[in-house]
Amino acid sequence: MSITALIVDDSRSIREVIRRIIRISGFGPIRCIDAVNGKEGLEILRKEKVDIVLTGIHMPEMGGLEMLAEMRKQAALRDLPAVVVASDAGLKRVKSAADLSCGKFIKKPFYPEEIKKALKEAAQLKETGPHERVETDIDAVDF
């Protein structure tokens, strides 16, 4: 099964690293689309069928949490699996992400396995179809 991942981060390096991890993850064909901020991410989501969103938080024009808030207002994007990948991992920020049904909060710096695990879960969700809205386990974020 092929899945499409949207990577939203203003750092080209981070987008490339995540893309490379996805490429070597062994999940078969995974298409990656890049966006440099939340605004561009939303534009892509309007046009493309995406299975998982991986996003940073602080970006020019529109940040990742603002993008997630907009997504959750739209029926078509309300249950789309989302993963936040960010260095700003204070409790309030993690809680905000959880309130927006962000399934996972990966704290930078990260190990490739953390991205792979998130993708695996997204692939499983695609296979099992509609799912319950997930809650981020704040205690699972390693400080």
Binding site: H58, D88, A89, G90, F143
Partner: protein
């Protein structure tokens, strides 16, 4: 300040080891003449700025390890983006450890390089600052944390 210094040290090691596969050795030598610097401001219960200074060789190796490209193919654009992201990661990681409970605002990282003329060492002269120096096989690095009142 001693506790913050220890926390900052942990964050720097974690970022360099996890993302760049570079193992830093703390150094007492106050190096001068760094080639690139990335700065970021933070504002919350703590307020100030963090500066990451790198030798060009260190910056090139960081890019090379992060993106899996040979050092001779590393571009200036790569170096800028990588230095800014490294400063962002160290700062976010440090704040998340030092003050986990509160939300912080962060500026966009700024980048300076001697290739484009001298830059102002904005953080180094502030009253309350921590400077940590490192050496490694890949080059030199310093991190300066400046706290405002």
């Amino acid at each position: 300040m001693k506790e913050l210094r220890q926390t900052l040290m942990q964050s720097i090691f974690e970022v360099f080891e996890k993302m760049f596969y570079i193992f830093l050795e703390p150094s007492d030598v106050h190096f001068l003449g760094f080639d690139v610097e990335a700065d970021i401001d933070f504002k919350g219960t703590l307020k100030g700025s963090l500066s990451l200074q790198l030798s060009h060789n260190m910056a090139k190796h960081m890019v090379s390890h992060l993106l899996n490209v040979p050092t001779d193919q590393v571009t200036d654009e790569h170096v800028e983006d990588c230095a800014k992201e490294a400063a962002n990661m160290i700062c976010g990681n440090f704040i998340s450890r030092a003050d986990r409970q509160n939300a912080y605002d962060y500026s966009s990282p700024r980048f300076f390089t001697t290739m484009k003329g001298p830059w102002p060492y904005s953080a180094a002269g502030d009253s309350e600052s921590i400077r940590l120096n490192f050496d490694s096989d890949s080059g030199r690095a310093s991190v300066i944390l400046a706290l405002s009142n």
